[in-house]
Amino acid sequence: MANNVHDFKVVLVGEGCVGKTSLILRYIENTFNSNHITTVQASFLKKKLNIDGQRVNLAIWDTAGQEQFHALGPLYYRNSNGAVLVYDITDASSFPKVKVWVKELRKMLGNDVCLVIVGNKTDLEKERHVSLEEAEQYSEAVGAIHFQTSAKLDEGVEDVFLGLTNKMLEQAAKQHSRNETLERQGSQRRNVIIVDDEDTPPPASTRQCCSHF
């Protein structure tokens, strides 16, 4: 595809009621829980970014956070470039969930996926139940960036997605170079080789055709 356009899929993961939707709405629409939101749905949103001349299309996928839908996660994660894992700093039980998801994402997508862990609702600092140090330590351990946000007060929301996008761009560049070196090597299935072999004739033939015409 075009050189400078990156299409990134970002999944938004987190327990119910941690503020995923508020976060995404704040980012996309810069509104909080108000009635004049033009978006009908807050589950799938797109955002165009331009970072250092690189055009980035973010497709943000919201996921259902309820426990009963937990098993469906892998379907959502498929092919995603990044993930935003949200927890509620006032809800101690929401952070362990993040750990579960991190494991799952790593298992599914390997190290290619860029993770961002977000502690939301900093406006309720008084009722904090997840310590900042713990969260930061853990994030570092799993190679994720940690952010603190308040969707209500619009604090740090932009940074989350900017940070993630930068990381994804890095990752994309890394992957690109790796792909170049590993091209035509084992990462793909062997029939691909056959297909590739078969691929070549059609262009040739069409070219011939074209030249004939």
């Binding site: 595809m1 299409d7 899929k9 938004l12 119910g16 995923k20 939707t21 709405l25 829980n33 009635n35 939101i37 978006t39 009908v40 749905q41 807050a42 589950s43 799938f44 299309n57 497709a59 996928w61 919201d62 996921t63 259902a64 956070g65 309820q66 009963q68 839908f69 098993a71 469906l72 379907l75 959502y76 498929r78 092919n79 299935r189 029939n191 691909v192 297909v195 590739d196 078969e198 691929d199 059609p202 262009p203 033939s205 069409t206 055709c209 074209c210 015409f213």
Partner: protein, 742 residues
Amino acid sequence: MYATKQPSLRIKQADLKCKNGCGYYGNPDWGGYCSKCYRSSMEKDRHHRKSDHSRSPVPGFSKFEEKKRQQTDKKSKYLSFAPVVFRRTSAAKDVGRPERHHEPRHTNPEMEKLELEYMSTYIHLGRHVRDDFFKFVKFFNVNIRNEMNSRPIEEVAVVAQKYYNFFANRINSHEIYSKMEQETKDHLIDFFEKFSMTTLYSILFCPHTTNDEEKDLAIQRRIRQLSWVNAHHLDCCISETSMEVRDLVYAAITHLLGMDSVKAPQEKLSYVVRCCQSVVEVLRHCQGGPVSADEFLPALIFVVLKANPARLKSNILYVTRFCNDARLMQGEGGYYFTNLCCAVSFIENLTAESLNMSEEEFQGYMTGTITSVSAWESALVACEGMHQLCEHLAELKGLSERMDSVQEGTLNLRETMEAFKKEINAKVIEIRESTPLIIKPRKIPISLDKQDSNAANLPSPLAPTVVNSSSILSEQSEPITIPITIDTVADETDETTTQTHFYTQNLATQELNLMDSKKGKLQLDITPCLPTETLKQSQSNELLAYDTQSLDGFITPDDGSLLGLSNINYDIDLSDLSADNSVADELTPEKKKSPNFMVDPFSPLSGPCNISQSPLIPSSATDAPIASSSTSRELTNDNFVLPFKTEDSSLLNTQGNASIVHLPSPIKPHTPHYSGFSMQGVQIPSIPCNTGDYSSLNLVQQRESEATTSGIGDNSKKEENKSNEKVVKVLGGVLDTIDKLF
């Protein structure tokens, strides 16, 4: 290539032999048989299946979809036998695959339609593009068909994706397409997919090599089993009775079902998107605000459960395999499709736990021991009556809920009302206690009586003075004397204070009627009405009179013995009945200045007073006064005095001149030819402005009647008017003189 058997470390030779024991080597792909035995076993199998088919008609015949599927099922199974015989590769994992010659080679109407579509949409791109496009489509077609014969569907899908990418790259890079805009290129890529997939649909959708169909049936059965699951179980807020919501849900269901009716993966995807948008609409209707995934997924699951779309799994797999990955993985379509996959996956793995209910309950529902009939299910059942029943039940439930809330509201309202009442009562009591009602004696407006009585106690400051001495009178040929009223508050003793007395206020320039001094007040204003010539003369007299008489009055007005008139009260009351109390108010300062000032309060009468009845009628004196005027001082004195309470001493009364009494309101201007009275001189009493009370009037009238010696002439009134006018004039003169005096 692949071993279907679990490979063991050591394979004995026996393991490699045909299972039939014929001595030949077997092949794991042939189920461990040798080629000959495998063929015979398949033959047997075929017979077995055929009989199976004839024996067991599909139970769910009522559904058209079911039938249709059954037909394809049959066909596929039938077809599957043929290739077995001719199979060349051993790579088959599944039952079999169709032979090439079964594939439709003819250009079907769909192809033509697509070609037409291309022509109409992309003809402007030129012949080169068209040729290239169709060449590629054909190439793709042929290749995929070949692939289908040799590879499992998943691999074919990978190949297809490769071709998509290849075509996309070609479009983006090849010179033929260089003139096109990116958007058109994207469209062309999509159209390429649509074109080729529509033509290949029959072999790629639900291919016979897979068990997609079984999965379809499984999921359908599963959904049917779960038909009891309603919105409540899924924690989603779809209201079941609202017509709007229901319509939207039906729209969503229709779109979901429509997915099966189109062939291209992208079209199917668009149906999914439409379905999901309807779901979003539903949610927006039910809860408002933007819809997040937390609410969306349960609602979608609900819709899928209620729709129970045909060949759901096949469709999903087909889209997953053959939709351009570049498209599928981004954009709304991809997201919603993923959600649909999630919903299906959820339904497949649905347990009691995922519905937040106990295992027994779940099992009860699943086995049908517990039945819940909701409006939704019944709507899907053909029985209209049942459906209506359910709807009515749901509606009744809603109504009763509303009624409850209304009742609750009424109770609340009543409570608040009572509380309010209590509060108000308490407040009223509190305020009453804090500020007790003291009934103060009613303020009685200062009545003239009181004023009067006060004034009565006080000696009247105004002492009428006789300005004209008899000599003057005699000197003057025709002294015009305007009758001056002297109001006496006659008998205090007679009349209680409450009774009102009205005294006209007159300017008195004449001497007081001393005869009346029964402690009575002489309140009189005398307006001597003298012709100018006489006035000058009289002034000197007046001065004398002041000197002699009024001095006393100054000093001791109370005495009432001699009330010299030093000052003139020229307060003419023009309003007979007016309630003007101003005189009283001004009393004190006036008094200081002029002790002679007569408070002459007149107050609105307690009783009606008619001016016409005013007792003092100077004009009445038309005749009588003349007679009396010149006679004596006494007479003159009497003239002032007032009829209300007159003593017998009063001249008028003594004279029995009734006409005096009859005079109407005194204030009317008098005509000048009243001069005839001048003989009386100054002693003609002026007209009282206020009439007395009835009692006095009555008295007067009595007297009048008693004393009617002379008839009352009509002209007397006119005369009176004239005299009044004169009074005013004289008043002015008097004022002047007083000014001079001071």
